[in-house]
């Protein structure tokens, strides 16, 4: 689902001593089927931006068009919220129903669907996040583990079959396995259902692995926007913004600085491993100066 954000600015509590500028002249285009990662330090305006896209915050100035609907028209707000699925940080804090099934059904019921359709979507959504509707459905959401609650909350949004899925730190506070699981579901939604996804995260590894494109925000502005590899290739610039690179990318860039004949753009462990094996192979054949890797680089 295409999104166009043009020249959007937003100021919280305008004309008070608590005034805070959250967005300045932000431009952003998201094409149908794209997976966009948004990164940036705390307070850079990421959360404000995604709420603007969902019509939850009306920006002080600028224009937002989501799926052809102009958000400056108040009548469009509800329709946009139906088409966009926004998953906030710690979404399990919004659970409220007596059973998991009833909680997941909250969204579809608000869409005005018939009960049969609602039940179908609840089943589908719970399966999408790897939960068994028969087993988990009738239980109280408050009796589940943290990771399960998170997944139920995400199912509550997926059950609305949003055409654009926005996730704000979906894996925050989960253990590594929970993190892998949640991100696996997101990846599958994107790959198999061609779901348009916007992922906001502090976790560079996740963004590097999942996103096709990365948008970097700083001080309420979009400061970088490009294919994931290109953005993470600019290590110095990201560090200057107070961000870091994915650990593997950092490793590859340092290896390169030390003279290893590797391409430094690897974003995943697998890719990095392959590059290093290739480089090691070349070294063994003596195609490059053997002293280089042990010679000590800049660091």
């Amino acid at each position: 689902m295409p999104v166009t954000v043009s020249r959007v600015s937003h100021v919280y509590l305008e004309n008070t001593p608590f005034e805070a500028r959250a967005l300045s002249d932000v431009d952003l285009e998201v094409a149908d089927g794209e997976f966009v990662g948004i990164i940036g330090p705390t307070g850079s305006g990421k959360s404000t931006l995604i709420q603007v896209i969902d019509g939850l915050i009306r920006p002080t100035s600028g224009r937002v068009v989501v799926d052809g609907l102009d958000l400056s028209i108040k009548a469009n707000l509800r329709e946009v919220r139906r088409r966009v699925g926004l998953i906030f940080q710690y979404p399990e804090h919004q659970l409220f129903e007596e059973t998991v099934a009833a909680d997941v059904a909250f969204g579809p019921r608000n869409l005005g669907l018939a009960e049969g359709e609602v039940a179908e979507r609840v089943d589908e959504a719970l399966r999408l996040v790897g939960l068994d509707p028969e087993e988990i459905g009738p239980r109280s959401p408050f009796a589940l583990s943290g990771g399960q609650m998170r997944r139920v909350a995400i199912a509550g949004v997926l059950a609305m079959r949003p055409r654009l899925l926005i996730l704000d730190e979906p894996a925050a506070g989960l253990d590594p396995r929970g993190r892998e699981e949640i991100l696996g579901y997101v990846r599958r939604l994107h790959r198999t259902l061609r779901q348009t996804v916007i992922l906001v995260s502090h976790h560079m590894e996740d963004v590097a692995r999942l996103a096709d494109r990365v948008v970097v925000m700083h001080g309420g502005r979009v400061v970088m926007d490009g294919p994931t590899k290109d953005v993470f290739a600019a290590g110095d610039r990201l560090r200057a913004l107070g961000l870091r690179l994915p650990a593997v990318t950092e490793l590859m860039q340092r290896l390169k600085e030390r003279g290893w004949p590797v391409a430094a753009d690897a974003l995943t462990v697998e890719e990095a491993a392959r590059r290093i094996i290739e480089a090691a192979g070349r070294l063994d054949r003596g195609s490059v100066d053997r002293r280089a890797p042990t010679g000590g680089g800049a660091r």
């Binding site: 509590l13 919220r81 699925g85 804090h93 919004q94 409220f96 608000n110």
Partner: protein
């Protein structure tokens, strides 16, 4: 949601009034409010207005903030004034059908409106210039003489501090949950009263749950840092009375003495 909330809000600043000891401010505000009800002359009201304006000017609080605090009460103020104008017996000055506006009514109504506005303005000034922590510290200290009589001064002050501290947190939390539910298609704005009340369940249940969780965590964190109630507790922030406090109390004393003189004359 958290916007436009002025009553009880603290506006940080460095003015003379901001720096007064909270006890001075609480005492002066209390005396002022009491004396407002004893005033019965134009000169008395004039003095009260001057006193309030003086405090306002010294505090450097923009007038807009006080106006925001008074606005919600405006209906009440206008209503009492109108009722007084028409219902007080006296010399008629204007007729509307069977309703008679009297001179005496106009005077009492006007005085009452001034009294209410001053009341709100001065109490708002107290909370606008005193941080919640200072306010409760001052209150605890002022209530201390009543502890032997069984008044749990420390506990009251602690409860007040925690309540005040969590108002913005809860508002923020409510806003967040509201947005999350709105993103799931919840509608908090339309429908009749029953529908709207029912629409609050998805907001209130998570809000209660998180409040209990917060209370639990706070209690744990306080105990982990050795909190065991008020007995034997020392203070990080010492309340100190300075020259400005003596001056403020003196000015207030002169003001009160003047009003008593006016009243007894």
């Amino acid at each position: 949601m958290s916007r436009g909330l002025t009553v009880g809000q603290y506006l940080p600043g460095r003015s003379v009034i901001h720096r007064l000891d909270p006890r001075t401010k609480i005492l002066i505000t209390t005396v002022y409010v009491l004396i407002l009800f004893a005033i019965n002359s134009v000169w008395g009201y004039a003095a009260a207005v001057v006193f309030a304006l003086l405090a306002l000017t010294l505090s450097a609080i923009p007038l807009r903030y006080l106006a925001d605090g008074i606005r919600p009460m405006l209906v009440l103020i206008v209503l009492t004034m109108v009722l007084n104008v028409f219902l007080t017996p006296g010399a008629p000055i204007w007729r509307l059908g069977r309703l008679v506006a009297t001179r005496e009514g106009l005077i009492t109504g006007g005085f009452l409106a001034v009294r209410l506005i001053l009341l709100i303005a001065v109490t708002s000034l107290l909370t606008l210039t005193t941080s919640p922590v200072a306010l409760t510290d001052g209150l605890e200290r002022l209530l201390k003489p009543f502890v032997p009589l069984g008044l749990p001064a420390h506990e009251l002050a602690m409860m007040m501090t925690i309540a005040l501290r969590f108002i913005p947190t809860l508002l923020e939390e409510a806003e967040k949950i509201m947005k999350a539910q709105m993103a799931r298609g919840a509608d908090f704005e339309s429908g009749n009263l029953i529908r709207r009340t029912k629409a609050l369940i998805p907001l209130l249940v998570p809000l209660f749950i998180s409040s209990f969780r917060r209370a639990d965590e706070l209690a744990m964190a306080m105990e982990a840092r050795g909190y065991h109630g008020g007995a034997g507790r020392t203070r990080y922030r010492q309340l100190r009375v300075g020259p400005a406090d003596y001056l403020a109390v003196s000015v207030t004393t002169v003001f009160v003495a003047g009003l008593i003189y006016l009243r007894l004359r």
